[in-house]
Amino acid sequence: MGAVAREAHSHSPWYLAYRRLRRNRLALASLALFVLIIAFVLAAPLWADHVAHTGPNTTHTTETIVVDGEQRDVVSVEGKPIGPVWFGAGGRFFLGADGGLGRDEMVRLMYGGRTSLFIALTSALITTILATVLGLLAGYYRGWTDGVISRTLDVIWSFPVVLLGIALGTALAVGGLKIGPLELAGNSLWIPILIIAVVYTPYMARPIRGEVLALREKEFVEAAVSQGAGSLRVMFGELLPNLWSTVIVFFTLNIANNMLLEASLSFLGAGVQPPNSSWGKMVSTGVELIYTAPLLAFAPGVMILLTVLSLNVFGDGLRDALDPKSKVRLEARAGLPEPEGTAV
């Protein structure tokens, strides 16, 4: 039994997953695309200061710019915004202006993306933590703990995702939120973040609970208990490590879901509130000018599509790599996890 034989069998499951993932070109390309999008939105202040020389909310209604030596209005007399001029004006109004106010569309696109991604990532983090803890508690303790948690999640589940988001979003946008020392203004980004996090929690907590229910019957749990491990130790020391692969995949796909929900809510006016903007909000203003300046709706729409697509494909690849036999699936759509025996 030489060292060679032992080494051949001692790759950790994470390393094996990494090797499988590395072979999946499509998943890697998607990851690269997502990283590129992150870099794009992170570069917003650079572009704004050094190329476009304007901010996301600066208006240029009455100004003119020189495009390839030709003097042009940013917003025409009839109120039509200038179209994309690319580098014709040294990078100013790269994608044209955004409508009657004459704001720089490219700058807005980059800053709007920051908002969209910030909301999607933060709420995904909250959902994941919440769902994991609730799933662990419900699946481990069973009995009335499970009863309370599961029934509460069922209630959230009974609401249509978008409509629950709208109801909460509008009610909170009117007066903000005050609970004890916690005070949020009506236009705080934390309002959509919390709403999205809460709305999607049941869709993740349910399958995690199911997995915990199955895991806790395994011998390694019995072994830990017989060695004197307490409940917390069993949950977070023994069960949680076995859930990581599921949790990571859900987290990835949840970011995509959150992007779409945030976009829908903001599109309808129940998500981010002025002066903030996001891709969803930009599409809704863009749709009003769809015949004169279609790019204003298409550009943020395509950014959402690319982000969601990259996350979905990468998430799929990640699942295949981490657990090739896995049947648990969370599709990126306004709401539904899949029939496990089943859900938007």
């Binding site: 609401f159 249509p160 599109f267 599409v283 749709v287 279609p294």
Partner: protein, 319 residues
């Protein structure tokens, strides 16, 4: 079966009750400002706020407040204060458009979802399968408003093939009805076509490995018959479940954006208008309306599922 249905109906009533409590909490209890002020809307005068406080009993105990809210919604005298319109009337007015949109889209997504999923599974690994798989992932990832924006630009503006907006009642002119709805139907269906074909594909691939399929082949049935009568039929059961949940979800709010962009004047568009006016009473009623359909279709799905698969209604899982 009757007992199962009865149990499900009781469960449904309970869930609806809790749902209505949550709606009450969202609109009347959120700790931020005077609920009367919120309900009154944008151009609230102190007099109006005062009269709303009395009318809704905001100085009375919570159970009484809840009772007042439910009575207003169910009896149809809920008023939008900023629009001065009866909310329930507006919702009922919007129902034909919303249902036309949802039912049509459902027919399209089921037909194409099943067709593409079937083809994809039967030709698994081939170029058709690969194309359909790429298509379905794209379909799942496209935001509804992007599809709608592209359709509007391409088909109503560039090619001028379809009308841009409006709803024509079915009984008035069936042809115009369908003509106006084709783009909205497709917009709403694309997401689910992608999703359903993916689910069906993986279900069918699993089913093909089952023993009963081998038995069917062994007794000499033709390939097409095996695929349709044995593989497809058994793979459709989870799809039925999924459909029930999705259809409830689409009627209960999933169609809002499509309605808004194509100006269909349905319940969803009413919701959207209320959001932009920060007009809460309509949203209160529409949220309940939407949740009702989600819960209703969940229940119906359970019943149909139990009918299709007796293990559910007889086994221990029939909680």
């Amino acid at each position: 079966m009757a007992r199962f249905v009865a149990r499900r109906l009781v469960g449904m009533a309970l869930v609806l009750f809790v749902v209505s409590l949550v709606v009450f909490a969202i609109f009347n209890l959120i700790p931020n400002s005077d609920p009367a002020q919120r309900l009154a809307g944008k151009n609230a005068t102190p007099v109006l706020v005062q009269s709303i406080t009395e009318e809704w009993g905001f100085d009375e105990p919570l159970p009484v407040q809840y009772g007042t809210m439910m009575k207003k919604i169910l009896s149809g005298d809920l008023i939008s204060y900023s629009e001065r319109l009866d909310v329930d009337d507006k919702i009922i007015e919007g129902i034909p458009a919303t249902f036309s949109l949802c039912i049509g889209a459902a027919v399209i997504w089921m037909s194409f979802g099943i067709l593409f999923g079937y083809l994809s599974a039967v030709k698994a690994g081939g170029w058709l399968d690969r194309m359909l798989t790429v298509g379905s992932v794209a379909g799942i990832s496209i935001p509804v408003f992007l599809i709608a924006a592209v359709f509007l630009y391409l088909f109503t503006f560039k090619l001028e093939l379809f009308p841009a907006s409006g709803y024509v009642p079915l009984l008035e002119d069936p042809i115009q009805w369908a003509y106006h709805l084709i783009l909205p139907w497709l917009t709403l269906a694309i997401l689910n076509i992608g999703f359903y074909s993916r689910v069906l594909r993986s279900n069918m691939l699993d089913a093909m490995r089952e023993d009963y399929v081998r038995t069917a082949r062994a007794k000499g049935l033709g390939e097409r018959r095996v695929l349709i009568r044995h593989v497809l039929r058994n793979s459709l059961i989870p799809i039925v479940t999924l459909f029930g949940l999705d259809f409830g979800g689409v009627i209960g709010g999933g169609a809002i954006i499509t309605e808004v962009i194509f100006g269909l004047n349905g319940v969803g568009q009413y919701a959207a208008e209320s959001i932009s006016n920060l007009d809460l009473p309509p949203l209160m009623a529409i949220t309940l309306f939407g949740a009702f359909f989600v819960v209703l279709f969940n229940t119906l799905t359970d019943v149909v599922y139990a009918y299709l698969d007796p293990r559910i209604r007889l086994g221990s899982s029939a909680r």
